[in-house]
């Protein structure tokens, strides 16, 4: 049996660990176009102020040898013949018995009218290193996009002493989280920390003026030294575009991480999975999902049985000194009950979105302790009508939950040993 | 089934009753009963019995279901700690009727003696009821914790016994006629009937009249209600 994994992110690592929990013997080949050991994408910012990759490695260096994984780093996948089960790389062909596609996502880099210079992006090591290199002689940076990468990058840049223009097309940062209050609080936080935040702004065009770049927005005009695009990511599906693999917003997988092709699995940012909260297939590029999907795929590839947990968005982030955790659906509809609580002084905010008595989304800002209790309530579709007030106003507390619910939770996660 | 109780002692009669129940009898007529006690003690079954003659003490003690129709007077301690069932008496009753009664009904056509309904209890839907046709002796409903006693005072204008409801801390006693304060036990209050009371009385008195083969109707406005003043009438007896 030969397992082949394309990709080296959390999903790929999860798959290796999943396979090895069942099968210690068979060959695993891991192919990555990057020439690095697996690293933590959410920690990529750190590459801006440190020299080597050590600090953000996702697993220790011995991971591949310990798990008896052969690696092929720095090679691109050209094409796949799913019938013959053959992968064509730059200079070799590899046969697989079971294949996992975990190619992840790539940055969306927009075209700017009138600009032919480099637009940096920030989704992998190469991009990070290239940005870092160019920053040494650049002081004014325009960051396009108020999503997680844009905001976090801006925070790093300002801490490095740069002048930052954060250009956001919506009314607030992190609007994708779906909570206006959080956006509002963060807008302030960002501005208080010296970032030039330009909201509801669109880049119309840009022009290179020597080493400077003139950026024309719909309302403003700014001059900067570099442009970094942080307009999100898309699944890396290019090698499969002409194959019979079913792809929508990503490679479509079922709850066992199987694609429509036998012996081909996919996991991580490249996939779209069923999100019961939305009742549709979604691409949710976050690390826990990637690892879990990979792990699940690994088990199923190696003859075990595993079903992916319910998948929905969740985020834990810190912007300057503001802690935020969001999960589930925060874009409420009319039929949902929305409870929120705000203590502006202590910078504590909490919001619960409840549908038919069940929690479908929650946002916590400030006091994020024990957020996992809420997360579990969403994951397991539990009815919290009797305790919603307490969950909103008090410290989140396991003992707030009704007794039988607590007992079920304990039962479902743990096993009686003796 | 007809059981001639002449010459039988209480154990023999109870054995026959238990056997009859085992044989699936639904009704038992007991003739020539005289003084045998403990009849139907602890019996758990919905059997109906017609008792001819004076049964002994503790009739229906700890009983849990049977319906007994007695065509005579009854003696003391009838319905002692009775849990469920019914005792209908076409005559008078002695002392301590329905001691600590927990459920079921006792209907008496005539008078009852002292300490009727002492320690009566109830919980939730399970409410014991005693209905007395004529008058009741002193200490009616003593220590009553719950349950209901009704006194119809058919032979007189009101009940003039003493220490009525003394120490009661729950339940209610309905009496036809006006009660004087000096007849009341400590910690008991007189009030008039509310809708719940009236509704309850209407139903129970209909059932009573049916069992007594009478067509009599009662004017509910002529009743007063005795209930505890305070759920803890003796709280201040102690210094902690």
């Amino acid at each position: 049996m030969r397992y082949v994994i394309i990709g080296n992110g959390a999903a790929a690592i999860g798959a290796v660990e999943g396979i090895r929990s069942n099968d210690n013997e068979s060959e695993i080949i891991l192919i990555s176009k990057e020439d690095y050991n697996s690293y933590s994408k959410p920690q990529l910012y750190k590459m801006l102020n440190q020299d080597n990759i050590e600090g953000i490695l996702y697993r220790n260096k011995e991971f591949y040898s310990d798990n008896n994984v052969s690696t092929i780093f720095g090679k691109n996948l050209k094409s796949v013949d799913f019938n013959k089960k053959i992968l064509s790389l730059d200079d070799e062909n590899i046969k697989y018995d079971k294949l996992l596609i975990a190619t992840g996502a790539k940055a969306n880099v927009p075209q700017i009218k009138g600009f032919d210079g480099q637009i940096y992006s920030f989704t992998n090591i190469e991009e990070a290193l290239s940005l870092k290199q160019s920053l040494s002689n650049k002081n004014k940076i325009a960051v396009l996009g108020g999503g997680l990468i844009g905001v976090k990058l801006s925070e790093y840049l300002i801490k490095m002493g740069k002048e930052v223009f954060l250009i956001v097309s919506s009314k607030g940062v992190l609007s994708s989280l779906g909570d206006e209050k959080i956006s509002e609080i963060l807008n302030n936080e960002i501005m208080e920390n010296g970032i030039n935040l330009l909201l509801s702004s669109k880049v119309l065009s840009a022009k290179k003026e020597g080493s400077k770049i003139e950026l024309k927005l719909d309302k403003d005009k700014i001059t900067c030294d570099a442009i970094v695009s942080c307009k999100g990511v898309s699944p890396e599906v290019s090698p499969f575009e002409k194959t019979e693999l079913e792809i929508n917003r990503g490679i479509k997988v079922d709850d066992h991480m199987r694609t429509n092709i036998e012996d081909v699995f996919a996991a991580g940012d490249v996939t779209e999975v069923y999100n019961y909260l939305e009742d549709s297939y979604c691409n949710i590029p976050i690390l826990p999902n990637a690892y879990s999907g990979g792990h699940c795929a690994g088990i199923n590839m190696s003859g075990g049985e595993s079903k992916i947990d319910t998948v929905y968005p969740m985020n834990s982030l810190q912007i300057f000194n503001v802690q935020i955790i969001t999960m589930g659906l925060l874009n409420s509809t009319e039929k949902d009950e929305v409870l929120s609580f705000l203590d502006s002084e202590k910078k504590v905010y909490r919001k619960l979105v409840i549908r038919n008595g069940k929690l479908i989304g929650a946002a916590l800002l400030g006091d994020i302790d024990r957020a996992g209790i809420l997360n579990n309530i969403i994951r397991n579709n539990l009815d919290i009508s009797s305790v919603k007030e307490e969950l909103l106003y008090n410290k989140i507390n396991f003992y707030v939950l009704p007794k039988d619910m607590r007992e079920d939770i304990v039962k479902s996660y743990t096993e009686v040993i003796k | 089934m007809i059981l001639n109780c002449k010459g039988l002692n209480h154990t023999e009669i109870n054995k026959s009753i238990r056997k009859a129940i085992q044989n699936g009898e639904k009704e038992i007529v007991m003739n020539n009963v005289n003084g045998q006690g403990y009849l139907f003690a602890g019996v758990k079954n919905g059997i109906k019995a017609i008792i001819n003659g004076v049964p002994g003490n503790d009739l229906g003690g700890m009983m849990d279901g049977p319906s007994l129709f007695v065509n005579a007077n009854i003696q003391d301690c009838v319905g002692n700690t009775m849990n469920n069932g019914k005792i209908v008496v076409h005559g008078d009753a002695g002392d301590i009727l329905g001691y600590a009664m927990r459920g079921g009904k006792i209907f008496v056509k005539g008078k009852v003696g002292y300490r009727c309904g002492i320690h009566m209890k109830a919980f939730g839907e399970k409410i014991p009821v005693i209905v007395i046709g004529e008058d009741a002796g002193d200490f009616l409903g003593e220590y009553m914790a719950s349950g209901i006693i009704v006194v119809l005072c058919k032979n007189k204008s009101t009940l003039d016994s003493n220490y009525l409801g003394v120490g009661m801390h729950g339940g209610a006693i309905y009496i036809r006629g006006n009660i004087e304060e000096n007849n009341l036990g400590k910690g008991v209050a007189i009030s008039s009937l509310d809708d719940w009371d009236k509704n309850f009385l209407t139903n129970i008195l209909d059932e009573y009249s049916t069992d007594m083969n009478s067509k009599e109707k009662y004017d509910l406005n002529s009743f007063v209600k005795l209930s505890p003043l305070n759920s803890r009438p003796f709280q201040r007896l102690y210094s902690y």
């Binding site: 490695l57 834990s316 304990v410 003796k418 | -």
Partner: protein, 142 residues
């Protein structure tokens, strides 16, 4: 090897001695009075005591069958060692992904890093269990 510590909430009396002993156990000196009165950097307890009216209990890491924290950790800092879910303090960067997913709320936030119960896995019986005066904390090991 498997381990589980759990609190029988019917018998948790809310004394919070488990927290005291946990703190002492993870202190430098290991002595209760020194730890509390003289050690400035005493480690806070890894227990989370919670209460609602008279119902209370101490939450510790339950060593889940399939720990969500391991899957969520962005740094691969959490792993199972010796039957125990262990958080590697060196690797932790304080991203709070584990806090976000732990269904019991058993992972606590320190200044920059998360920390959690280690089941005193080098001891025969965890100190909190050993010192629970009402045997509300129970320890299972196999």
């Amino acid at each position: 090897m498997k381990r589980r510590i759990f609190c029988d909430e019917d018998f948790c009396i809310g004394c919070r001695l488990c927290e005291v002993h946990c703190t002492v156990k993870h202190s430098k000196s290991g002595d209760i009075i020194l730890a509390y009165k003289f050690e400035n950097d005493k480690e806070p307890s890894r227990m989370t005591f919670e209460q609602k009216e008279y119902i209370c209990g101490s939450i510790v890491c339950m060593n889940c069958k399939d720990p969500l924290c391991i899957k969520a950790c962005s740094m691969g800092a959490i792993k199972i060692e010796d039957g125990t879910v262990i958080l590697d303090n060196e690797r932790c960067v304080g991203c709070w992904m584990c806090v976000m997913v732990c269904p019991f709320g058993a992972i606590k936030r320190g200044d920059n890093k998360a920390f959690k119960c280690d089941h005193c896995h080098t001891d025969e019986i965890p100190v909190c269990v050993l010192n629970c005066p009402n045997k509300a904390l129970k320890y299972e090991v196999d």
